[in-house]
Amino acid sequence: MAKIPSLLVVFQRKNKHLPKPIPIIHVARLSKHYQVPVREAGLRQAARALIQRQHRTVKAVDEISFFIHPGEVVGFLGPNGAGKTTTLKMLSGLLHPTSGQVRVLGYEPHRRQRAFLEQITLVMGNRNQLAWDLPALDSFELQRAIYGIPEHEYRQRRDEFIALLDLQDLVHKPVRNLSLGERMKMEIVGALLHRPQVLFLDEPTIGLDVTMQRRIRTFISEYNRRYGASVMLTSHYMADVEALCKRVIVIHHGRILYDGDLSGLVERFSAYKTINLTLKNGPVSLEQYGEVVSQEGSNASLRVPKSETSRITSRLLTEQAVADLTVVDPPIEDVIETVFNQQAEAA
Protein backbone atom coordinates (compact mmCIF):
# COMPACT_ATOMS: atom_id res chain seq x y z
CA MET A 1 0.00 0.00 0.00
CA ALA A 2 1.44 3.35 -1.04
CA LYS A 3 2.47 5.74 1.73
CA ILE A 4 0.47 8.93 1.42
CA PRO A 5 0.24 12.03 3.59
CA SER A 6 -2.23 11.46 6.37
CA LEU A 7 -5.31 13.65 6.36
CA LEU A 8 -4.99 13.94 10.11
CA VAL A 9 -1.40 15.13 9.83
CA VAL A 10 -2.43 17.78 7.29
CA PHE A 11 -5.26 18.89 9.61
CA GLN A 12 -2.92 19.10 12.58
CA ARG A 13 -0.32 21.09 10.64
CA LYS A 14 -2.95 23.65 9.63
CA ASN A 15 -4.47 23.92 13.10
CA LYS A 16 -1.46 23.93 15.42
CA HIS A 17 -3.29 26.12 17.93
CA LEU A 18 -5.97 23.48 18.52
CA PRO A 19 -5.51 20.56 20.91
CA LYS A 20 -4.57 17.52 18.87
CA PRO A 21 -7.67 15.48 18.08
CA ILE A 22 -7.27 11.76 18.54
CA PRO A 23 -9.59 10.15 16.05
CA ILE A 24 -10.75 6.64 16.71
CA ILE A 25 -11.31 6.08 12.99
CA HIS A 26 -8.90 7.58 10.53
CA VAL A 27 -9.38 7.12 6.80
CA ALA A 28 -7.11 8.69 4.19
CA ARG A 29 -7.56 8.32 0.43
CA LEU A 30 -9.09 4.93 0.91
CA SER A 31 -10.07 3.06 -2.25
CA LYS A 32 -11.51 -0.29 -3.13
CA HIS A 33 -11.56 -1.29 -6.78
CA TYR A 34 -12.91 -4.52 -8.22
CA GLN A 35 -12.02 -6.17 -11.49
CA VAL A 36 -15.29 -7.33 -13.00
CA PRO A 37 -15.40 -9.57 -16.09
CA VAL A 38 -17.55 -8.10 -18.86
CA ARG A 39 -18.86 -9.40 -22.15
CA GLU A 40 -21.70 -8.75 -24.54
CA ALA A 41 -24.69 -11.10 -24.60
CA GLY A 42 -24.77 -13.96 -27.10
CA LEU A 43 -23.04 -17.20 -28.00
CA ARG A 44 -20.35 -15.62 -30.16
CA GLN A 45 -19.36 -13.19 -27.42
CA ALA A 46 -19.33 -16.03 -24.89
CA ALA A 47 -16.97 -18.01 -27.15
CA ARG A 48 -14.75 -14.98 -27.63
CA ALA A 49 -14.63 -14.43 -23.87
CA LEU A 50 -13.10 -17.91 -23.49
CA ILE A 51 -10.01 -16.74 -25.35
CA GLN A 52 -9.97 -13.04 -24.68
CA ARG A 53 -11.37 -12.11 -21.31
CA GLN A 54 -12.22 -8.49 -20.77
CA HIS A 55 -12.41 -6.80 -17.42
CA ARG A 56 -13.72 -3.52 -16.17
CA THR A 57 -12.53 -1.77 -13.04
CA VAL A 58 -15.34 -0.81 -10.71
CA LYS A 59 -14.38 1.87 -8.21
CA ALA A 60 -16.63 0.90 -5.32
CA VAL A 61 -14.81 3.36 -3.06
CA ASP A 62 -12.61 6.03 -4.56
CA GLU A 63 -10.10 7.95 -2.44
CA ILE A 64 -12.31 8.85 0.49
CA SER A 65 -10.93 10.54 3.59
CA PHE A 66 -12.47 11.32 6.96
CA PHE A 67 -11.93 10.83 10.65
CA ILE A 68 -14.25 10.07 13.52
CA HIS A 69 -13.62 10.89 17.15
CA PRO A 70 -14.43 8.79 20.21
CA GLY A 71 -18.09 8.92 21.10
CA GLU A 72 -19.22 10.39 17.78
CA VAL A 73 -22.30 9.01 16.04
CA VAL A 74 -21.95 9.52 12.32
CA GLY A 75 -24.55 8.80 9.66
CA PHE A 76 -23.10 7.36 6.49
CA LEU A 77 -25.56 8.12 3.74
CA GLY A 78 -25.82 7.23 0.10
CA PRO A 79 -28.01 5.48 -2.42
CA ASN A 80 -27.69 1.75 -3.10
CA GLY A 81 -24.28 0.95 -4.57
CA ALA A 82 -22.74 4.22 -3.37
CA GLY A 83 -19.95 2.46 -1.47
CA LYS A 84 -21.32 2.60 2.09
CA THR A 85 -21.20 -1.10 2.87
CA THR A 86 -17.87 -1.56 1.10
CA THR A 87 -16.43 1.18 3.30
CA LEU A 88 -17.84 -0.40 6.46
CA LYS A 89 -16.41 -3.75 5.40
CA MET A 90 -12.97 -2.21 4.99
CA LEU A 91 -13.25 -0.47 8.35
CA SER A 92 -14.25 -3.69 10.06
CA GLY A 93 -11.49 -5.71 8.41
CA LEU A 94 -13.56 -7.84 6.05
CA LEU A 95 -12.05 -6.35 2.91
CA HIS A 96 -8.50 -5.45 2.01
CA PRO A 97 -8.32 -1.90 0.63
CA THR A 98 -6.94 -1.44 -2.88
CA SER A 99 -5.08 1.68 -1.73
CA GLY A 100 -5.08 4.34 0.95
CA GLN A 101 -4.81 4.27 4.69
CA VAL A 102 -7.27 3.19 7.31
CA ARG A 103 -6.82 2.99 11.06
CA VAL A 104 -9.50 2.00 13.53
CA LEU A 105 -8.55 2.18 17.22
CA GLY A 106 -4.96 2.40 15.99
CA TYR A 107 -5.17 -0.90 14.12
CA GLU A 108 -5.10 -1.68 10.43
CA PRO A 109 -8.45 -3.47 10.17
CA HIS A 110 -7.53 -5.90 7.37
CA ARG A 111 -4.90 -7.48 9.62
CA ARG A 112 -7.81 -8.60 11.82
CA GLN A 113 -5.79 -8.73 15.01
CA ARG A 114 -7.60 -10.22 17.97
CA ALA A 115 -7.33 -7.03 20.06
CA PHE A 116 -8.94 -5.08 17.22
CA LEU A 117 -11.78 -7.53 16.63
CA GLU A 118 -12.53 -7.59 20.34
CA GLN A 119 -13.27 -3.86 20.29
CA ILE A 120 -15.49 -3.54 17.23
CA THR A 121 -18.74 -4.90 15.94
CA LEU A 122 -20.50 -4.86 12.61
CA VAL A 123 -24.25 -5.34 12.59
CA MET A 124 -25.85 -5.92 9.23
CA GLY A 125 -29.61 -5.66 9.09
CA ASN A 126 -30.08 -8.59 6.76
CA ARG A 127 -27.52 -10.97 8.24
CA ASN A 128 -27.71 -13.01 11.40
CA GLN A 129 -25.21 -14.85 13.48
CA LEU A 130 -27.48 -16.41 16.07
CA ALA A 131 -28.14 -20.16 15.96
CA TRP A 132 -31.47 -20.47 14.20
CA ASP A 133 -32.72 -23.50 16.12
CA LEU A 134 -31.75 -22.46 19.63
CA PRO A 135 -32.96 -19.82 22.07
CA ALA A 136 -30.86 -16.66 21.79
CA LEU A 137 -29.50 -17.30 25.29
CA ASP A 138 -27.49 -20.25 23.94
CA SER A 139 -25.99 -18.08 21.21
CA PHE A 140 -25.16 -15.38 23.76
CA GLU A 141 -23.30 -18.02 25.73
CA LEU A 142 -21.24 -18.83 22.65
CA GLN A 143 -20.49 -15.12 22.19
CA ARG A 144 -19.25 -15.08 25.79
CA ALA A 145 -16.84 -17.91 25.01
CA ILE A 146 -15.68 -16.37 21.71
CA TYR A 147 -14.82 -13.05 23.34
CA GLY A 148 -13.60 -14.54 26.61
CA ILE A 149 -15.97 -12.39 28.68
CA PRO A 150 -15.72 -13.17 32.41
CA GLU A 151 -18.85 -14.94 33.62
CA HIS A 152 -20.11 -12.27 36.03
CA GLU A 153 -19.55 -9.44 33.52
CA TYR A 154 -21.29 -11.47 30.84
CA ARG A 155 -24.37 -12.02 33.00
CA GLN A 156 -24.49 -8.38 34.01
CA ARG A 157 -24.22 -7.07 30.42
CA ARG A 158 -26.60 -9.65 29.03
CA ASP A 159 -29.26 -8.85 31.62
CA GLU A 160 -28.72 -5.11 31.18
CA PHE A 161 -29.22 -5.30 27.39
CA ILE A 162 -32.15 -7.67 27.70
CA ALA A 163 -33.84 -5.22 30.06
CA LEU A 164 -33.06 -2.21 27.86
CA LEU A 165 -34.61 -3.89 24.84
CA ASP A 166 -37.40 -5.53 26.83
CA LEU A 167 -36.52 -9.05 25.71
CA GLN A 168 -37.12 -10.95 28.95
CA ASP A 169 -39.94 -13.08 27.54
CA LEU A 170 -38.23 -13.82 24.24
CA VAL A 171 -34.74 -15.05 25.11
CA HIS A 172 -35.97 -18.57 25.84
CA LYS A 173 -37.72 -19.00 22.48
CA PRO A 174 -35.86 -20.53 19.51
CA VAL A 175 -34.65 -17.73 17.25
CA ARG A 176 -36.59 -19.18 14.31
CA ASN A 177 -39.84 -18.47 16.18
CA LEU A 178 -39.11 -14.76 16.63
CA SER A 179 -40.36 -11.95 14.43
CA LEU A 180 -37.91 -10.00 12.27
CA GLY A 181 -37.79 -7.13 14.73
CA GLU A 182 -37.33 -9.42 17.72
CA ARG A 183 -34.52 -11.23 15.93
CA MET A 184 -32.84 -7.93 15.12
CA LYS A 185 -32.92 -6.91 18.76
CA MET A 186 -31.39 -10.25 19.72
CA GLU A 187 -28.71 -9.79 17.05
CA ILE A 188 -27.84 -6.41 18.50
CA VAL A 189 -27.56 -7.82 22.01
CA GLY A 190 -25.30 -10.61 20.72
CA ALA A 191 -23.17 -8.12 18.80
CA LEU A 192 -22.65 -5.85 21.82
CA LEU A 193 -22.05 -8.36 24.59
CA HIS A 194 -18.30 -7.84 24.33
CA ARG A 195 -18.98 -4.12 24.76
CA PRO A 196 -17.26 -2.87 21.59
CA GLN A 197 -15.88 0.66 21.41
CA VAL A 198 -16.68 1.03 17.72
CA LEU A 199 -20.03 0.07 16.22
CA PHE A 200 -20.54 -0.26 12.48
CA LEU A 201 -24.26 -0.52 11.89
CA ASP A 202 -25.35 -1.28 8.35
CA GLU A 203 -29.08 -0.75 7.97
CA PRO A 204 -29.85 -1.99 11.49
CA THR A 205 -33.55 -1.13 11.22
CA ILE A 206 -34.20 -2.37 7.69
CA GLY A 207 -37.62 -3.95 7.28
CA LEU A 208 -38.73 -3.14 10.84
CA ASP A 209 -41.92 -1.36 11.83
CA VAL A 210 -41.81 2.16 13.21
CA THR A 211 -42.09 1.11 16.87
CA MET A 212 -39.27 -1.39 16.54
CA GLN A 213 -37.11 1.13 14.70
CA ARG A 214 -37.62 3.62 17.50
CA ARG A 215 -36.76 1.01 20.11
CA ILE A 216 -33.50 0.14 18.40
CA ARG A 217 -32.60 3.79 17.91
CA THR A 218 -33.15 4.47 21.60
CA PHE A 219 -30.99 1.50 22.50
CA ILE A 220 -28.13 2.59 20.22
CA SER A 221 -28.33 6.08 21.62
CA GLU A 222 -28.29 4.76 25.19
CA TYR A 223 -25.32 2.48 24.45
CA ASN A 224 -23.43 5.42 22.96
CA ARG A 225 -24.21 7.57 26.01
CA ARG A 226 -23.33 4.93 28.61
CA TYR A 227 -20.12 3.63 27.09
CA GLY A 228 -18.91 6.51 24.91
CA ALA A 229 -18.73 4.22 21.90
CA SER A 230 -18.28 5.59 18.40
CA VAL A 231 -21.00 4.66 15.95
CA MET A 232 -21.01 4.69 12.18
CA LEU A 233 -24.48 4.09 10.87
CA THR A 234 -25.91 3.55 7.42
CA SER A 235 -29.64 3.72 7.01
CA HIS A 236 -32.19 4.53 4.39
CA TYR A 237 -34.53 5.68 7.14
CA MET A 238 -33.86 9.35 7.75
CA ALA A 239 -35.61 9.07 11.11
CA ASP A 240 -32.64 6.92 12.24
CA VAL A 241 -30.17 9.51 11.05
CA GLU A 242 -32.04 12.48 12.48
CA ALA A 243 -32.48 10.81 15.86
CA LEU A 244 -28.90 9.58 16.24
CA CYS A 245 -26.46 11.56 14.13
CA LYS A 246 -25.31 15.13 14.44
CA ARG A 247 -22.81 14.55 11.71
CA VAL A 248 -23.34 12.87 8.36
CA ILE A 249 -21.05 11.75 5.59
CA VAL A 250 -22.70 11.52 2.20
CA ILE A 251 -21.13 9.19 -0.33
CA HIS A 252 -22.08 8.68 -3.95
CA HIS A 253 -20.31 6.72 -6.70
CA GLY A 254 -17.61 5.90 -4.15
CA ARG A 255 -16.74 9.53 -3.40
CA ILE A 256 -17.62 11.73 -0.47
CA LEU A 257 -19.99 14.56 -1.39
CA TYR A 258 -20.47 16.01 2.05
CA ASP A 259 -19.02 15.62 5.53
CA GLY A 260 -20.42 17.80 8.27
CA ASP A 261 -23.39 18.62 10.45
CA LEU A 262 -26.76 17.29 9.44
CA SER A 263 -28.15 20.82 9.62
CA GLY A 264 -25.33 22.02 7.39
CA LEU A 265 -26.33 19.46 4.78
CA VAL A 266 -29.75 21.02 4.54
CA GLU A 267 -28.22 24.48 4.46
CA ARG A 268 -25.84 23.59 1.68
CA PHE A 269 -27.91 21.42 -0.58
CA SER A 270 -31.44 22.65 -0.14
CA ALA A 271 -32.35 25.36 -2.60
CA TYR A 272 -35.83 25.78 -1.10
CA LYS A 273 -37.61 26.44 2.16
CA THR A 274 -41.18 25.71 3.08
CA ILE A 275 -43.48 28.40 4.44
CA ASN A 276 -46.48 27.05 6.36
CA LEU A 277 -49.14 29.63 7.02
CA THR A 278 -52.65 29.98 8.39
CA LEU A 279 -54.75 32.80 7.01
CA LYS A 280 -57.39 34.70 8.96
CA ASN A 281 -59.69 35.32 6.01
CA GLY A 282 -59.91 31.85 4.54
CA PRO A 283 -58.42 30.67 1.23
CA VAL A 284 -56.85 33.20 -1.13
CA SER A 285 -54.68 32.80 -4.20
CA LEU A 286 -51.02 32.37 -3.20
CA GLU A 287 -49.36 31.44 -6.52
CA GLN A 288 -47.76 34.89 -6.74
CA TYR A 289 -45.61 34.05 -3.66
CA GLY A 290 -44.24 30.67 -4.63
CA GLU A 291 -45.09 27.06 -5.46
CA VAL A 292 -48.21 26.02 -3.55
CA VAL A 293 -47.46 22.57 -2.18
CA SER A 294 -50.82 22.23 -0.40
CA GLN A 295 -53.80 24.40 0.45
CA GLU A 296 -56.71 23.25 2.57
CA GLY A 297 -59.13 25.84 3.90
CA SER A 298 -57.15 28.58 5.57
CA ASN A 299 -53.97 26.43 5.87
CA ALA A 300 -51.40 26.52 3.10
CA SER A 301 -47.87 25.39 2.41
CA LEU A 302 -45.56 27.18 -0.01
CA ARG A 303 -42.20 26.21 -1.41
CA VAL A 304 -39.96 29.19 -2.06
CA PRO A 305 -36.35 29.67 -3.14
CA LYS A 306 -34.09 29.86 -0.08
CA SER A 307 -32.64 33.21 -1.09
CA GLU A 308 -36.13 34.68 -1.45
CA THR A 309 -37.49 33.45 1.87
CA SER A 310 -37.13 36.69 3.85
CA ARG A 311 -38.59 38.87 1.12
CA ILE A 312 -41.57 36.57 0.52
CA THR A 313 -42.26 36.21 4.23
CA SER A 314 -42.35 40.03 4.58
CA ARG A 315 -44.68 40.32 1.61
CA LEU A 316 -47.02 37.69 3.03
CA LEU A 317 -47.15 39.41 6.41
CA THR A 318 -47.79 42.79 4.78
CA GLU A 319 -50.22 41.82 2.07
CA GLN A 320 -52.22 39.02 3.72
CA ALA A 321 -54.07 38.62 7.01
CA VAL A 322 -51.78 35.98 8.48
CA ALA A 323 -52.80 34.23 11.72
CA ASP A 324 -49.71 32.04 11.90
CA LEU A 325 -46.55 31.57 9.83
CA THR A 326 -43.57 29.23 10.14
CA VAL A 327 -40.56 28.74 7.91
CA VAL A 328 -39.10 25.24 7.87
CA ASP A 329 -36.31 23.44 6.10
CA PRO A 330 -37.44 20.71 3.74
CA PRO A 331 -37.46 17.14 5.07
CA ILE A 332 -33.99 15.61 5.12
CA GLU A 333 -35.17 12.87 2.74
CA ASP A 334 -35.91 15.51 0.13
CA VAL A 335 -32.51 17.11 0.61
CA ILE A 336 -30.67 13.83 0.27
CA GLU A 337 -32.69 12.99 -2.80
CA THR A 338 -31.81 16.36 -4.27
CA VAL A 339 -28.11 15.73 -3.64
CA PHE A 340 -28.19 12.36 -5.35
CA ASN A 341 -30.26 13.61 -8.25
CA GLN A 342 -27.91 16.52 -8.82
CA GLN A 343 -24.95 14.14 -8.85
CA ALA A 344 -26.70 11.69 -11.17
CA GLU A 345 -27.40 14.51 -13.63
CA ALA A 346 -23.81 15.71 -13.37
CA ALA A 347 -22.39 12.21 -13.92
Partner: protein
Protein backbone atom coordinates in the same frame (compact mmCIF):
# COMPACT_ATOMS: atom_id res chain seq x y z
CA UNK B 1 -5.33 -21.91 26.09
CA UNK B 2 -8.05 -21.80 28.75
CA UNK B 3 -10.02 -19.49 26.51
CA UNK B 4 -9.78 -21.88 23.55
CA UNK B 5 -10.86 -24.76 25.76
CA UNK B 6 -13.85 -22.75 26.93
CA UNK B 7 -14.69 -21.86 23.31
CA UNK B 8 -14.42 -25.48 22.18
CA UNK B 9 -16.53 -26.82 25.03
CA UNK B 10 -19.21 -24.16 24.63
CA UNK B 11 -19.32 -24.58 20.87
CA UNK B 12 -19.52 -28.37 21.20
CA UNK B 13 -22.36 -27.95 23.68
CA UNK B 14 -24.14 -25.68 21.20
CA UNK B 15 -23.66 -28.29 18.45
CA UNK B 16 -25.10 -31.01 20.67
CA UNK B 17 -28.14 -28.81 21.40
CA UNK B 18 -28.64 -28.06 17.70
CA UNK B 19 -28.22 -31.69 16.60
CA UNK B 20 -30.61 -32.96 19.25
CA UNK B 21 -33.20 -30.67 17.68
CA UNK B 22 -32.74 -32.80 14.56
CA UNK B 23 -32.18 -36.19 16.21
CA UNK B 24 -34.60 -38.05 13.90
CA UNK B 25 -33.18 -36.44 10.79
CA UNK B 26 -29.71 -37.42 11.99
CA UNK B 27 -30.83 -40.95 12.64
CA UNK B 28 -32.38 -41.41 9.22
CA UNK B 29 -29.25 -39.91 7.69
CA UNK B 30 -27.13 -42.51 9.46
CA UNK B 31 -29.43 -45.34 8.45
CA UNK B 32 -29.18 -44.18 4.85
CA UNK B 33 -25.42 -44.09 5.18
CA UNK B 34 -25.07 -47.75 6.16
CA UNK B 35 -26.32 -48.88 2.74
CA UNK B 36 -22.85 -48.30 1.27
CA UNK B 37 -20.83 -50.46 3.73
CA UNK B 38 -23.51 -53.16 3.82
CA UNK B 39 -23.21 -53.55 0.02
CA UNK B 40 -19.39 -53.80 0.29
CA UNK B 41 -19.78 -56.24 3.17
CA UNK B 42 -22.19 -58.54 1.36
CA UNK B 43 -20.08 -58.55 -1.80
CA UNK B 44 -16.80 -59.27 -0.04
CA UNK B 45 -18.31 -61.87 2.32
CA UNK B 46 -19.68 -63.69 -0.72
CA UNK B 47 -16.28 -63.52 -2.44
CA UNK B 48 -14.57 -64.80 0.73
CA UNK B 49 -16.93 -67.75 1.03
CA UNK B 50 -16.53 -68.54 -2.68
CA UNK B 51 -12.74 -68.63 -2.22
CA UNK B 52 -12.78 -71.10 0.62
CA UNK B 53 -13.54 -68.79 3.55
CA UNK B 54 -11.16 -65.87 3.14
CA UNK B 55 -9.73 -63.23 0.80
CA UNK B 56 -6.33 -61.71 1.50
CA UNK B 57 -6.54 -62.81 5.13
CA UNK B 58 -10.07 -61.41 5.63
CA UNK B 59 -12.83 -63.86 6.63
CA UNK B 60 -16.54 -63.05 6.48
CA UNK B 61 -16.33 -62.23 10.20
CA UNK B 62 -13.38 -59.88 9.78
CA UNK B 63 -15.06 -58.21 6.79
CA UNK B 64 -18.11 -57.70 9.02
CA UNK B 65 -15.88 -56.15 11.70
CA UNK B 66 -14.17 -53.94 9.09
CA UNK B 67 -17.37 -52.55 7.62
CA UNK B 68 -19.23 -52.14 10.92
CA UNK B 69 -16.32 -50.11 12.32
CA UNK B 70 -16.34 -48.36 8.92
CA UNK B 71 -19.78 -46.91 9.74
CA UNK B 72 -18.45 -45.11 12.80
CA UNK B 73 -15.25 -43.97 11.08
CA UNK B 74 -17.28 -42.64 8.16
CA UNK B 75 -19.42 -40.61 10.53
CA UNK B 76 -16.35 -39.33 12.33
CA UNK B 77 -15.02 -38.30 8.93
CA UNK B 78 -17.90 -35.98 8.19
CA UNK B 79 -16.53 -32.46 8.31
CA UNK B 80 -17.45 -29.04 6.98
CA UNK B 81 -17.52 -29.80 3.25
CA UNK B 82 -15.89 -27.92 0.40
CA UNK B 83 -19.42 -27.25 -0.84
CA UNK B 84 -20.03 -25.52 2.49
CA UNK B 85 -16.88 -23.46 1.97
CA UNK B 86 -17.98 -22.66 -1.56
CA UNK B 87 -21.33 -21.42 -0.27
CA UNK B 88 -19.91 -19.43 2.64
CA UNK B 89 -17.33 -17.70 0.42
CA UNK B 90 -19.54 -17.05 -2.60
CA UNK B 91 -22.50 -15.78 -0.61
CA UNK B 92 -20.41 -13.86 1.88
CA UNK B 93 -21.53 -15.83 4.92
CA UNK B 94 -17.87 -15.93 5.89
CA UNK B 95 -18.12 -12.23 6.79
CA UNK B 96 -19.82 -12.80 10.12
CA UNK B 97 -17.24 -15.44 11.04
CA UNK B 98 -14.36 -13.14 10.11
CA UNK B 99 -15.60 -10.55 12.56
CA UNK B 100 -14.96 -12.90 15.45
CA UNK B 101 -11.58 -12.82 17.18
CA UNK B 102 -11.11 -16.51 16.46
CA UNK B 103 -10.25 -18.29 13.20
CA UNK B 104 -13.34 -19.70 11.42
CA UNK B 105 -11.64 -23.09 11.26
CA UNK B 106 -11.81 -23.36 15.06
CA UNK B 107 -15.54 -22.88 14.77
CA UNK B 108 -15.81 -25.67 12.19
CA UNK B 109 -13.66 -28.08 14.19
CA UNK B 110 -15.48 -27.38 17.46
CA UNK B 111 -18.99 -27.51 16.03
CA UNK B 112 -18.47 -30.75 14.13
CA UNK B 113 -16.69 -32.28 17.11
CA UNK B 114 -19.83 -31.59 19.14
CA UNK B 115 -21.89 -33.21 16.43
CA UNK B 116 -19.68 -36.32 16.67
CA UNK B 117 -20.73 -36.80 20.27
CA UNK B 118 -24.34 -37.04 19.13
CA UNK B 119 -23.32 -39.31 16.25
CA UNK B 120 -21.52 -41.75 18.55
CA UNK B 121 -24.58 -42.04 20.80
CA UNK B 122 -26.86 -42.61 17.81
CA UNK B 123 -24.42 -45.07 16.23
CA UNK B 124 -24.30 -47.50 19.17
CA UNK B 125 -27.73 -49.16 18.62
CA UNK B 126 -27.12 -49.20 14.87
CA UNK B 127 -23.78 -50.98 15.37
CA UNK B 128 -25.41 -53.46 17.74
CA UNK B 129 -28.02 -54.24 15.09
CA UNK B 130 -25.40 -54.73 12.37
CA UNK B 131 -23.34 -56.94 14.70
CA UNK B 132 -26.41 -59.07 15.42
CA UNK B 133 -27.00 -59.57 11.67
CA UNK B 134 -23.42 -60.00 10.39
CA UNK B 135 -21.56 -61.57 13.38
CA UNK B 136 -18.25 -59.67 13.22
CA UNK B 137 -14.97 -61.13 14.50
CA UNK B 138 -13.81 -58.37 16.82
CA UNK B 139 -11.73 -58.84 19.96
CA UNK B 140 -9.67 -55.68 20.36
CA UNK B 141 -6.98 -55.30 23.02
CA UNK B 142 -6.90 -52.32 25.37
CA UNK B 143 -4.10 -50.78 23.30
CA UNK B 144 -6.15 -51.16 20.11
CA UNK B 145 -9.19 -49.54 21.73
CA UNK B 146 -7.04 -46.66 22.99
CA UNK B 147 -5.34 -46.12 19.63
CA UNK B 148 -8.66 -46.36 17.81
CA UNK B 149 -10.17 -43.68 20.05
CA UNK B 150 -7.31 -41.30 19.26
CA UNK B 151 -7.18 -42.32 15.58
CA UNK B 152 -10.81 -41.48 14.83
CA UNK B 153 -10.23 -37.94 16.09
CA UNK B 154 -6.96 -37.79 14.16
CA UNK B 155 -8.83 -38.87 11.03
CA UNK B 156 -11.39 -36.16 11.71
CA UNK B 157 -8.70 -33.48 11.89
CA UNK B 158 -6.82 -34.66 8.78
CA UNK B 159 -10.03 -34.66 6.75
CA UNK B 160 -11.02 -31.25 8.15
CA UNK B 161 -7.73 -29.79 6.94
CA UNK B 162 -7.90 -31.52 3.55
CA UNK B 163 -11.47 -30.50 2.79
CA UNK B 164 -10.92 -26.97 4.09
CA UNK B 165 -7.99 -26.63 1.69
CA UNK B 166 -10.20 -27.82 -1.13
CA UNK B 167 -12.98 -25.45 -0.10
CA UNK B 168 -10.62 -22.48 0.00
CA UNK B 169 -10.01 -22.87 -3.73
CA UNK B 170 -13.27 -20.93 -3.98
CA UNK B 171 -11.31 -17.81 -3.03
CA UNK B 172 -9.76 -18.01 -6.53
CA UNK B 173 -12.43 -19.55 -8.70
CA UNK B 174 -16.19 -19.70 -8.45
CA UNK B 175 -17.09 -23.22 -9.54
CA UNK B 176 -14.96 -25.89 -7.93
CA UNK B 177 -17.29 -28.86 -7.65
CA UNK B 178 -15.39 -30.78 -10.36
CA UNK B 179 -12.18 -30.57 -8.32
CA UNK B 180 -14.04 -31.78 -5.22
CA UNK B 181 -15.38 -34.79 -7.12
CA UNK B 182 -11.87 -35.70 -8.29
CA UNK B 183 -10.72 -35.61 -4.69
CA UNK B 184 -13.58 -37.81 -3.51
CA UNK B 185 -12.89 -40.36 -6.26
CA UNK B 186 -9.22 -40.57 -5.24
CA UNK B 187 -10.23 -40.85 -1.60
CA UNK B 188 -12.64 -43.70 -2.34
CA UNK B 189 -9.91 -45.82 -3.89
CA UNK B 190 -6.89 -44.82 -1.82
CA UNK B 191 -8.31 -44.61 1.69
CA UNK B 192 -9.69 -48.07 2.46
CA UNK B 193 -13.24 -46.82 2.14
CA UNK B 194 -14.08 -49.05 -0.83
CA UNK B 195 -12.05 -52.03 0.23
CA UNK B 196 -9.32 -52.78 2.84
CA UNK B 197 -6.03 -51.42 1.52
CA UNK B 198 -4.32 -54.81 1.87
CA UNK B 199 -6.61 -56.13 -0.89
CA UNK B 200 -5.50 -53.43 -3.30
CA UNK B 201 -2.70 -54.00 -5.87
CA UNK B 202 0.72 -53.33 -4.45
CA UNK B 203 1.34 -50.24 -6.57
CA UNK B 204 -1.88 -48.70 -5.27
CA UNK B 205 -0.78 -49.39 -1.70
CA UNK B 206 2.61 -47.81 -2.44
CA UNK B 207 0.93 -44.74 -3.94
CA UNK B 208 -1.41 -44.48 -0.95
CA UNK B 209 1.64 -44.39 1.32
CA UNK B 210 2.46 -40.90 0.01
CA UNK B 211 -1.05 -39.55 0.52
CA UNK B 212 -3.19 -38.74 3.57
CA UNK B 213 -6.30 -40.72 2.62
CA UNK B 214 -5.53 -44.05 4.31
CA UNK B 215 -4.95 -42.32 7.64
CA UNK B 216 -8.54 -41.12 7.63
CA UNK B 217 -10.24 -44.44 6.83
CA UNK B 218 -8.22 -47.64 6.62
CA UNK B 219 -5.88 -46.97 9.52
CA UNK B 220 -8.51 -46.19 12.21
CA UNK B 221 -10.58 -49.21 11.15
CA UNK B 222 -7.59 -51.57 11.06
CA UNK B 223 -6.39 -50.27 14.42
CA UNK B 224 -9.50 -51.70 16.08
CA UNK B 225 -10.02 -54.95 14.18
CA UNK B 226 -6.64 -56.36 15.05
CA UNK B 227 -5.01 -55.98 11.64
CA UNK B 228 -1.99 -53.99 12.90
CA UNK B 229 1.06 -54.74 15.05
CA UNK B 230 1.75 -52.54 18.12
CA UNK B 231 4.48 -50.79 16.11
CA UNK B 232 2.10 -50.09 13.23
CA UNK B 233 -0.51 -48.83 15.70
CA UNK B 234 1.81 -46.25 17.25
CA UNK B 235 3.50 -45.43 13.94
CA UNK B 236 0.06 -44.75 12.48
CA UNK B 237 -0.68 -42.16 15.14
CA UNK B 238 2.65 -40.55 14.25
CA UNK B 239 1.65 -40.44 10.58
CA UNK B 240 -1.67 -38.90 11.51
CA UNK B 241 0.12 -36.25 13.57
CA UNK B 242 2.39 -35.55 10.60
CA UNK B 243 -0.52 -35.11 8.18
CA UNK B 244 -2.37 -32.90 10.68
CA UNK B 245 0.76 -30.75 10.94
CA UNK B 246 1.12 -30.54 7.16
CA UNK B 247 -2.60 -29.74 6.91
CA UNK B 248 -2.42 -26.91 9.46
CA UNK B 249 0.61 -25.46 7.69
CA UNK B 250 -1.01 -25.55 4.25
CA UNK B 251 -4.33 -24.22 5.55
CA UNK B 252 -2.52 -21.26 7.10
CA UNK B 253 -0.60 -20.46 3.93
CA UNK B 254 -3.61 -20.80 1.63
CA UNK B 255 -5.81 -18.83 4.05
CA UNK B 256 -3.32 -16.01 4.20
CA UNK B 257 -3.36 -15.50 0.45
CA UNK B 258 -6.97 -16.49 -0.14
CA UNK B 259 -8.54 -14.15 2.39
CA UNK B 260 -7.13 -11.14 0.51
CA UNK B 261 -9.32 -12.15 -2.39
CA UNK B 262 -12.47 -12.41 -0.30
CA UNK B 263 -14.90 -9.85 -1.65
CA UNK B 264 -17.59 -10.30 1.03
CA UNK B 265 -20.30 -10.05 -1.61
CA UNK B 266 -23.89 -10.53 -0.50
CA UNK B 267 -22.63 -9.45 2.92
Amino acid sequence: MKRYLDFYLTNMKTAVLVEFQYRWANYFYMIGMIAEPVIYLVVWSTVAEAQGGQVGGYTAGSFAAYYIVWTLVRNMNIVFTPYGWEERIQRGRLSMELLRPIHPLHNDVAFFAGWKLVVIVLWLPLAAFLAWIFKPTLQPSLLEVGVFFIAIWGAYLIRTMALSLLGMITFWTTRVSAIFEMYFAAELVLSGRLVPMSLMPEWVQRLAGFLPFQWTFGYPIESLIGALTPGELIGGLGMQALWIGIGILLVNVVWRFGIRRFSAVGN
